[in-house]
Symmetry: C2
Subunit: 222 residues, 2 copies
DNA sequence: GGGCCTATATATAAGTT
DNA sequence: TAACTTATATATAGGCC
């Protein structure tokens, strides 16, 4: 959309690419917000800018909150991932080195540490949620038994790249400031009170998030 | 967009709501794909249908692959989440009950077990990745020290709801079928070979994903 | 670099089959 | 039900400050 039709390929000009990223990022976040409101669903979104910065969106507040909906018995976690322990260790070590490099670069290029902190915390929360997902899914596997074939199995090569992260745009409709009435109002279960205590140890940065969300919200509200 | 302007609130009619979800889901996935191509970035997307089904999108193949970019030392994981152990246990138990109910419903309404399996596996992968994120971010915390304030801390109430999941639309530009040239071609690091070994134990279902992606891709290609 | 503007390209709500 | 069609609403590319 726009004055000219853009070819569907990487934008070569770095400036234009970053600009397009910024604009489209907002657009997609708006879309995600609309989807969550119109269809009364949760949407989570994770994006990386051309420069490697992380942005994320969660209609329901924190990504962790969304993912927690899949939590199952906690004692099953430890048994699960262990199979991959070695592979993971290896990968983790490699990426650790990469990350250390990126870390230094980031410290040089990105003075806004607060955003990094947000991303960090968001990631930790995400960890909880995904763990939860894994647990509930383990339960599912048990319930479903082994009636499933694996003919659809595919493995794509990984394209890992060194990256930095910064702003975690995690949006909530129920934060202290900018409480948007009507946003996700169907608390049709008994979990509403159990998760506010989730993170006394972790603090999520929502400044950028709220600003963008508030803006997007106003535009889409009516 | 459309014949009439839709009020930005929950669509009451269940049929319309589901229809809108389906259409907009495709739209947002297309947008995510465009963003990843135009800006040469990775995008991950997780959505739940009004009926609680899970859909996810990852420009780079598997969400785990994207998230692995943030992996750090594996030995730091255990120390992290432990603080929340109790809270988590409680939540997990509650949600477990909820989930068991949903499970039964799902078995009744959703005969397509394969999709559930996909979601399950995707979730497991996601678990690894998020763990990785948490690790790298822990490292970051160390590197960054405690120079950060917490005035931005906010906690939103959780709106957990019982959910089922089904199709995991995990898209890749490098899968066996439908290899879209030019999709994420900047392997600017040395990680390309290290992650393909990620899941001999886990198989991700990409049928639905590939179908949708191929379709979206054709439309956006030129 | 962020905002605003405007012409165009896209997405999509209803309607139709 | 899911696929098309079409009128409209939105998103956004390229400019300009």
């Amino acid at each position: 959309m726009g004055r000219k039709k853009l070819a569907m390929r990487r934008i070569d000009n770095p400036t234009s690419r970053q600009l397009t990223y910024t604009k489209r990022k907002e657009g997609i976040i708006k879309k995600a917000g609309e989807l969550s409101v119109l269809c009364d669903t949760d949407v989570a979104l994770v994006m990386f800018s051309p420069s490697g910065r992380l942005s994320s969106f969660a209609s329901n507040g924190r990504i962790e909150d969304i993912l927690l909906r899949f939590v199952d018995r906690p004692d099953e976690l430890r048994g699960g991932p262990i199979n991959h322990e070695e592979e993971l260790e290896e990968k983790l070590d490699k990426l650790t080195r990469k990350q250390r490099e990126s870390q230094e670069k980031m410290r040089y290029y990105e003075p806004n540490v607060e955003k990094i902190n947000s991303a960090l915390e968001a990631g930790v929360y995400q960890q909880f949620l995904t763990t939860a997902i894994q647990r509930i899914q383990t339960s599912k596997a048990k319930l479903l038994g082994s009636q499933l074939g694996h003919e659809r199995t595919e493995n794509a090569e990984v394209q890992a790249a060194s990256m930095q992260m910064d702003d975690a745009v995690s949006l909530t409709g129920q934060s202290a400031e900018g409480n948007h009435a009507g946003m996700k109002s169907n608390m049709d279960d008994n979990q509403s009170g159990s998760s506010s205590a989730a993170g006394p140890h972790l603090s999520l940065g929502f400044i950028e998030s709220q600003r963008m969300w508030n803006k997007a919200w106003e535009n889409m509200k009516y």
